[in-house]
C-alpha cells in the first residue's frame, strides 16, 4: 500500500485514473495540508499570542457552574418528594445498598448484630481457597490463600474485604444484566446494532467523569459506586458474551437445527455450552474492570483500598500508598488468575483420568468440610475473626515494613537519582510538553477551533469535522476552554509517546516470536492493574507534576497499543512477507514498506485506543498535580461550591473523548476503505 500511496501523491490530480477515490484535491496531499495548517497556526499564535484565550482562574466559576450547583440543591431538596426519585432512583439505590450491605456484612463490616462480620478472616481465606480450587485448580487456590493472608499481614484486611465486597456486588449486578444482554445481542443482529454504539460510548467515557453525576441520583456511597462500576464493567461482559455466541460455528448450529432442536434446545444445548469458555473470559474482564473502578470510586467515598491510596496520594505519603497499592495489585492478580483457571477448567477436566474423575467428589466433599470447620471457627472465636495485629503497630505485621521500605526507596531515588529523573522531566517538559501546551492554550480560541475542525476534515472526514465543531462548541459552553486545552496538550503528547512506544515494541514483538513470548505476559499483567495504582511509582519518582501524569498515562496505555501493533504486524500474510523476502527486501525495508503499511489499520486502531486510555489516565492525574480538567473534577468531589464546575469539566472531558475517538475512527475507516480499493 505504500507504493499505492506514493503513486497517489505523485500523480497529477487533474487526471485521476477511473479507480482512484474521487476525493477533494487535498486528499491527495494529506501530509502537506496538515503541515500547512500547522504552520499557519504557529504564525497566528505568534501574532495573537495570549489574546482571546478564554482563561478561567482555578478558583473562579461561571454562571453555568453556579446554575448546576442550584440544580443540585433542588435535586437534593426534592429527593424524598419527587416521584422519579421516590419510585425509581431511591428504589434502585435501596436494592443495591441492600445487596452491597449483605455481602459486606458477610465478609467485611460488622453486621447482623455482631461486632464483626459473619465470616472472619480464617473463614474467608478458607472459602476463597476452596472456591479457587473447585472452580480453578490447586495452584491458584494456594496463591489466593497466600495473598489473602498477606492482606491481613499488611494490616489492610478490612479494607481489602471492603473492596472485595463492593467488587463482588458490582460484578454480580453486571453479570446479571450483562450476560443475558450479551446472549441476546449474540442472537439478534438488530439488538447488536443498537447496543454496539451504546457500549462504545460507555467504554470511551473516562471512568472519572460519571462519578459526580451518579452521586446526584444515588447519593454518595456504595450504590453510586456499584452503578458507576456497572457502567464500566458490564460492557466487556456483554460484548464478549455476544462475540462468543456469534463465533459458534454455523455448521454446528445448523446441525442442531437439522436434528430437530427447538430454539431453546439450540441455545442451552449448543450455543451457550460451546461459547462457555469465551463467556468466562468475559466474566474475567468484567471482574478486572470492576476492581479497577471500585478503587477509583474511592473519590465518591466508596470504602476499601482505594481510600487508602487516595488519602496517601493527597498527602504524598508514598509508603502508605504503596502498601495499599500493593494490595490492589495482588487482589487483581488473584482475581485474574482464579478466573483464568476457571476458563481453563474445561480443558483440564478433559485430561483427567477416570480414577481422578471418580475421586473428585470425595476430595470436594473433604474440602467443603474443612472449609466449614474454618468458617465455624472464624464465626465463633475472635482470633479467627479479626486478623491479629502486633502491639503498637499501625499497619500490622508487614505493612509497616512495606511502607518503610517504599519510603526509603523513594527518598533514595529522590536524593540520588534526581539528576536522571529531574533532567529527564525538565527536558521533556521544556521541549515537548510546553511548546504544545503554549500553542494550544495561548492561541485565540477561534484559531484553535478552526485548526481542529480543518485537521479533522483532512485526517478524518466531513462527519468527523462536524463532530469536532460541535464538541468544541460545547467545551466553550462549559466555560473551561483553557483547562480543556491544557488537558488536550497533555493527551496529545502522551498519545504520541504511546504510539511511538507501541510501534517500536510492537514491531519487535510482531517480528520475533521470542520477544512476543517474553513481553506479552508482562503486558497482560499490566493491563490487569487498576489505573489508580499506576500513579504511585511515578509520584515517587517525579513528584506531583503534569509530567508525572503524562508518564503514568503513557505506561498505562502502552500495553494495549503495543499489543495491537504486534498483532497487526503478525497478521500480515506470511506469503506476502515471503514474496517480499524473495525479491531481496532488507529487514528495514520489510518493516517500512511491507509490514507497517499493511498493518496500517492496526496502527490507527492502536492510536485510537491509546488516546482513550491516555485521556482517562491524564484526567486521573488531576489527583497528583496534573491540574486542568482532572483537577476541576477532583475539586468538584471535594468542595460543594465547585460541584458545578467539576460536572462541567466532566462534560468537557467527554467532549474531548468523543472528538478524539471520532476523528481517529474516521481516519481508520478511511484507511480501511483505501485498502479495499
Amino acid at each position: 500500500m505504500a507504493v499505492l500511496e506514493a503513486a497517489k501523491t505523485t500523480r497529477p490530480p487533474a487526471a485521476p485514473p477511473a479507480t482512484a477515490p474521487t476525493g477533494p484535491v487535498w486528499a491527495a496531499h494529506r501530509g502537506a495540508v496538515v503541515a500547512g495548517v500547522v504552520a499557519v497556526w504557529v504564525a497566528l499564535w505568534a501574532l495573537l499570542r495570549n489574546r482571546f484565550t478564554l482563561t478561567l482562574d482555578t478558583a473562579s466559576t461561571t454562571d453555568l457552574h453556579l446554575r448546576i450547583n442550584e440544580i443540585r440543591d433542588s435535586i437534593d431538596a426534592g429527593r424524598n418528594s419527587n416521584p422519579l426519585f421516590l419510585y425509581v432512583f431511591n428504589e434502585i439505590r435501596l436494592v443495591i445498598d441492600a445487596l452491597t450491605n449483605a455481602i459486606s456484612g458477610l465478609i467485611a463490616q460488622p453486621a447482623f448484630g455482631r461486632p464483626v462480620p459473619l465470616l472472619g478472616w480464617l473463614g474467608v481465606v478458607a472459602v476463597v481457597m476452596f472456591v479457587a480450587w473447585a472452580l480453578g485448580n490447586g495452584r491458584v487456590s494456594l496463591l489466593a490463600g497466600a495473598v489473602f493472608v498477606f492482606f491481613g499481614l499488611q494490616g489492610l484486611w478490612t479494607q481489602a474485604m471492603d473492596t472485595l465486597a463492593l467488587t463482588l456486588a458490582a460484578v454480580l449486578v453486571s453479570l446479571l444484566i450483562g450476560i443475558p444482554l450479551g446472549v441476546w445481542a449474540g442472537l439478534s443482529d438488530r439488538v447488536n446494532r443498537v447496543l454496539t454504539p451504546v457500549l462504545d460510548f460507555m467504554q470511551t467515557m473516562p471512568t472519572f467523569v460519571y462519578l459526580a453525576p451518579l452521586t446526584l441520583f444515588f447519593l454518595i456511597g456504595p450504590a453510586s459506586a456499584v452503578i458507576a462500576t456497572l457502567i464500566y464493567a458490564a460492557p466487556p461482559a456483554i460484548r464478549i458474551t455476544a462475540h462468543g455466541i456469534r463465533s459458534v460455528a454455523p455448521a454446528t448450529v445448523e446441525a442442531s437445527v437439522a436434528l430437530g432442536s427447538t430454539p431453546r434446545q439450540t441455545l442451552f444445548g449448543v450455543l451457550i455450552p460451546v461459547a462457555r469458555r469465551t463467556i468466562v473470559l468475559g466474566i474475567n474482564q468484567t471482574i478486572m474492570a470492576a476492581l479497577s473502578m471500585v478503587t477509583i470510586a474511592a473519590l465518591i467515598d466508596a470504602p476499601g483500598l482505594g481510600q487508602n491510596v487516595l488519602k496517601a496520594l493527597q498527602t504524598l505519603d508514598v509508603g502508605t500508598a504503596f502498601n495499599a497499592g500493593l494490595s490492589i495489585v495482588l487482589m487483581a492478580i488473584v482475581l485474574d488468575r482464579v478466573t483464568t483457571a476457571m476458563s481453563e477448567r474445561v480443558e483440564v477436566a478433559r485430561l483427567m483420568t477416570p480414577q481422578a474423575i471418580a475421586r473428585r467428589p470425595y476430595l470436594l466433599g473433604a474440602g467443603a468440610l474443612a472449609t466449614l470447620v474454618c468458617v465455624y471457627l472464624s464465626y465463633t472465636f475472635a482470633n479467627y475473626a479479626v486478623f491479629p495485629k502486633p502491639e503498637g503497630s499501625s499497619l500490622g505485621y508487614v505493612g509497616d515494613d512495606v511502607a518503610r521500605v517504599a519510603d526509603s526507596v523513594t527518598t533514595w531515588t529522590q536524593t540520588n537519582l534526581t539528576f536522571l529523573t529531574q533532567s529527564w522531566k525538565d527536558v521533556s517538559t521544556a521541549w515537548i510538553l510546553d511548546p504544545v501546551e503554549h500553542l494550544l492554550v495561548e492561541s485565540p480560541w477561534f484559531v484553535v477551533f478552526a485548526v481542529a475542525v480543518l485537521l479533522s476534515l483532512v485526517i478524518g472526514n466531513l462527519r468527523a469535522a462536524v463532530t469536532t465543531a460541535v464538541c468544541l462548541a460545547v467545551v466553550i459552553g462549559t466555560g473551561l476552554w483553557s483547562d480543556t486545552m491544557t488537558t488536550l496538550a497533555a493527551v496529545l503528547v502522551a498519545t504520541v509517546l504511546t504510539v511511538l512506544i507501541g510501534v517500536l515494541v510492537g514491531v519487535w514483538m510482531g517480528r520475533s516470536r521470542g520477544a512476543d513470548r517474553a513481553i506479552r505476559p508482562v503486558l497482560d499483567a499490566a493491563q490487569v492493574l487498576p489505573s489508580f495504582v499506576y500513579l504511585i511509582p511515578f509520584v515517587a519518582l517525579f513528584g506531583a507534576t503534569r509530567f508525572t501524569a503524562i508518564v503514568a498515562a503513557v505506561v498505562y496505555s502502552a500495553p494495549i497499543a503495543i499489543k495491537l501493533v504486534a498483532d497487526g504486524i503478525r497478521n500480515v500474510s506470511a506469503t506476502t512477507v515471503e514474496a517480499a523476502l524473495s525479491a531481496g527486501t532488507s529487514t528495514l525495508q520489510m518493516i517500512r514498506k511491507v509490514q507497517l503499511p499493511m498493518a496500517r489499520e492496526a496502527l490507527v486502531l492502536a492510536t485510537n485506543q491509546g488516546l482513550i486510555y491516555v485521556l482517562s489516565m491524564v484526567v486521573v492525574g488531576g489527583l497528583i498535580g496534573a491540574g486542568a480538567l482532572g483537577y476541576d473534577v477532583v475539586a468538584g468531589f471535594r468542595q460543594s461550591t465547585y460541584f458545578g464546575k467539576g460536572l462541567a469539566a466532566g462534560l468537557a472531558i467527554v467532549m474531548l473523548g468523543v472528538m478524539l475517538d471520532r476523528v481517529t475512527q474516521a481516519a481508520s475507516g478511511r484507511t480501511g476503505g483505501a485498502k479495499k480499493r
Binding site: 460455528a249 455448521a251 454446528t252 448450529v253 445448523e254 446441525a255 442442531s256 437445527v257 437439522a258 436434528l259 430437530g260 432442536s261 427447538t262 434446545q265 444445548g269 449448543v270 455450552p273 460451546v274 462457555r276 474445561v346 478433559r350
Partner: protein, 347 residues
C-alpha cells in the same frame, strides 16, 4: 428410477431466490428468464435454485452434482427446510412439506431426516458418544437408552474405542464418522449429505465413500448426496442430477450422463472420466453390418466396457450383445478401442 414405487421425496418447480422481494422473481415470466448477472442488476436478487423438479425413490442414492455456486447446497437445505424455498412444491411421503408448521417440521427432522455436513458441525464440548446421542437427547430419550443406541451406531461406523474422545482429538475422517453416526442414530428414513467428504484427504475420502456404500447396503436408507466431485457422484449415485447456476442441466444414471451428455457443459464435465469404467456395451454397440460374422461370444448390454475388453480383443469376431435371445447389436475391436483410446488421449 424404478417406476413401480411411489417417490419418497418429490420436488416440483422449486425456486429459491435470495434478496429483496424474492417471491416476485419466480412469478414473473420475464424475471425468471433472466440470467444471473441481469437478475442481480435488475432486482438485487440471486436465484440459487431455479425451477428444479425431480423424484427420489425409496432406497435410492440420489446425487446432486455441480460446481461451487451452482446452488446444490441450497437445494439440499430446501429439502429439509433449513432454507425456506421461495416457491414450488415439496412432498415427502405424500405429505406437503411446505405446509408443515414449526412443530411438525421439528418432528420430521427428529424422526425422518438427518444430515451430514461438510464441516461436520460437531459439538466440541461433548464426547463422541454424547455427540452421537444428541439427536436422541433432544427428543427426550433417557440417558441409558440413548447411550445404548449411540454405542450401536458407533460400532456400525467403526468408531468403537473412541466413544469417550472429544471431537478435536480425532482426525477429519474420524470426525466425519461421528457426523455419520449422529445422522444414523435417529434411524431416519432419509439421509442428506452436504459435500461430506470434500474437507478430507483423498485416501480418507475413498475410505469414507466405501463406508457409505457399505452402510447403504446394510441399512438401505434413501440418500441424497451433494458433491462437486464427478468420480464420487459416479461411484455412489444411482442417479445424478447435474446443476449449473441453479438450474437442472441433466438427470440420469452415470452411464447416461457419460454416454449421452445433454449439452456441452455436461460433455466437458464428463470428458475426463475413465469411460470404460462407466459405459456399458449398450452405449458403444452398433447395428451389425452385412459382412459381420454373427457367431462371436455373447455378452449382456449391461456389461461395462472395461470388463468386456479382454473378451472382445481375444475374439477374432465381433461379440454379440443379446437380450432375451434378441440381437441388439455388435461390438468389435474398433468400438472398444474407441473408448480405451479416448481415455489414453484424455489422460
Amino acid at each position: 428410477m424404478p417406476g413401480d414405487l411411489s417417490p419418497v421425496i418429490s420436488v416440483r418447480d422449486l425456486w429459491k431466490v435470495f434478496g429483496p422481494k424474492a417471491e416476485a422473481v419466480p412469478k414473473s415470466e420475464e424475471l425468471s428468464a433472466l440470467g444471473r448477472r441481469e437478475l442481480m442488476d435488475r432486482t438485487g436478487c440471486t436465484a440459487a435454485v431455479r425451477d428444479v423438479s425431480f423424484d427420489i425413490a425409496p432406497g435410492e442414492v440420489f446425487v446432486v452434482m455441480g460446481l461451487s455456486g451452482s446452488g446444490k447446497s441450497t437445494l439440499v437445505r430446501c429439502l429439509n427446510r433449513l432454507i425456506e424455498p421461495t416457491s414450488g412444491t415439496l412432498t415427502f411421503e405424500g405429505e406437503d412439506l411446505l405446509a408443515a408448521d414449526a412443530a411438525r417440521l421439528r418432528e420430521l427432522r427428529r424422526l425422518k431426516f438427518s444430515m451430514v455436513f461438510q464441516h461436520f458441525g460437531l459439538l466440541p464440548h461433548r464426547r463422541v458418544v454424547e455427540n452421537v446421542a444428541y439427536g436422541l437427547e433432544i427428543r427426550g430419550m433417557g440417558r441409558t437408552e440413548r447411550t445404548k443406541k449411540a454405542m450401536e451406531v458407533i460400532e456400525l461406523v467403526g468408531l468403537l474405542g473412541y466413544e469417550k474422545s472429544y471431537p478435536d482429538q480425532l482426525s477429519g475422517g474420524m470426525q466425519q464418522r461421528v457426523g455419520l453416526a449422529r445422522a444414523l442414530a435417529g434411524d431416519p428414513d432419509v439421509l442428506f449429505f452436504d459435500e461430506p467428504f470434500s474437507a478430507l484427504d483423498p485416501l480418507i475420502r475413498r475410505d469414507m465413500q466405501n463406508e457409505v456404500i457399505r452402510l447403504h447396503h446394510e441399512v438401505g436408507k434413501t440418500m441424497v448426496f451433494i458433491t462437486h466431485d464427478l468420480s464420487e457422484a459416479l461411484k455412489l449415485g444411482d442417479r445424478i442430477l447435474i446443476m449449473r447456476d441453479g438450474k437442472m442441466i441433466q438427470t440420469g444414471t452415470g452411464d447416461e450422463l457419460v454416454g449421452a451428455p445433454a449439452d456441452d457443459y455436461v460433455r466437458d464435465f464428463v470428458s475426463d472420466v475413465n469411460r470404460s469404467h462407466v459405459l456399458t456395451l449398450r452405449w458403444i454397440m452398433r447395428p451389425p453390418r452385412p459382412d459381420d460374422p454373427l457367431d462371436g461370444p455373447v455378452l449382456s448390454r449391461d456389461v461395462l466396457v472395461h470388463e468386456a475388453t479382454r473378451v472382445v480383443l481375444d475374439s477374432d469376431k465381433p461379440i454379440r450383445v443379446m437380450e432375451n435371445g434378441e440381437l441388439l447389436g455388435v461390438v468389435g475391436n474398433e468400438e472398444i478401442l474407441g473408448v480405451i483410446a479416448a481415455v489414453t488421449e484424455g489422460s
